[in-house]
Symmetry: C2
Subunit: 201 residues, 2 copies
């Protein structure tokens, strides 16, 4: 009598593998360890993910999707474009100060495999590309004179803040990043009234 395939198996494997990969790095975690942590047989893992690269790519894809959902939700809570950009940065700041934070899994992967061109690395590079494109789209809504320049300045702070934060940081650093982006926006839109996001203009 054959067993019915458990519906949540793929997710449980991905949960276990993702936690290990994120905490210790992809290369440091062997497939045997993933199998053990998933609490299932080896064949099940390999039937869902034929190679380790496939498993890593799925892990990064899920990470990427969750990040996109979280930022989109944060942005959707604001209506004015300037507040949306700030909300985006604030969301990253919250994440960085959360316990268990170990950096951005996608950036970490590109550092761990600088020359790879497999499915996993393509996911990571695609995320960074899309992430910057979404910021550019938000900045376009600001109606500033030089949207490309303002995007580059904000991206420098946001991407740098995210890339430089490799473990859980205290919230003050995040507030500093938010404040820096606020000032970039204020400088680019000097004719706007004071916004009151975080204090005096």
């Amino acid at each position: 009598m054959p067993r019915r395939p458990q519906p949540g198996a793929r997710d449980r494997i991905l949960d276990a593998a993702g936690a290990l990969f994120y905490a210790r790095g992809v290369r440091a975690v062997g497939m045997s360890e993933v199998v053990e942590a998933a609490g299932c047989g080896k064949n099940l893992v390999y039937s869902h993910f034929p190679t380790k690269v496939d498993l890593v790519a799925a892990y990064l894809e899920r990470f990427s999707a969750r990040r996109e959902r979280a930022t989109e939700r944060a942005v959707a809570e604001e209506t004015r474009p300037a507040a949306q950009v700030v909300a985006l940065v604030a969301e990253v700041a919250r994440r960085v100060s959360a316990p268990g934070f170990r950096g951005c899994a996608l950036r970490n992967h590109l550092t761990e495999f600088p020359n790879a061109d497999d499915a996993a690395s393509r996911v990571a590079r695609g995320y960074l590309r899309d992430s910057r494109a979404r910021l550019a789209a938000l900045v376009d809504g600001l109606g500033v004179a030089d949207p490309a320049g303002v995007t580059e300045r904000i991206w420098l702070v946001l991407d740098g803040f995210y890339a430089g934060a490799t473990r859980s940081a205290d919230a003050a650093v995040g507030r500093t990043a938010v404040r820096l982006v606020e000032e970039i926006i204020e400088r680019a839109t000097p004719d706007l009234p004071p916004t009151g996001w975080s204090g005096q203009s």
Copy 2:
């Protein structure tokens, strides 16, 4: 008749190993590859560096020392504290836009081995600590009201810029980073005359 010990052996090994480690990551490069690239026998490598960790630590130490020398030289070319801080950022910007740039070896190492506590990781963490301390010392010379806060803002841009730049970037990004730091300094010292570092105030 015994051979004379070759004086430059250690440096040649470190050159070869460093180039490989920097370009492809530490874990991706095996000792056999280091031996082959160094063009010497295996025992010679192990006589100079008893373990791979020792070799990596020496590689990071040399990287760190060179970075410190380069930044100190750049800072020494200026006399006014504000110009010194800007020179520090500009030096990093130059490096990031140089061909063959693959990120900061010390930050890369901490990403590759997030949980390690060996000699190599201590070198990397020590470099980051000292690097920030040197910035703080420079900012102290600015005489601003809140040196700790200004240090944190500049460090966020500088460290983030360096950490986020994982390959050779065009010089425009570096100029943006320099400009951001200039603005941070200008905001913190509003009573100073225009500086003319890179344009109108």
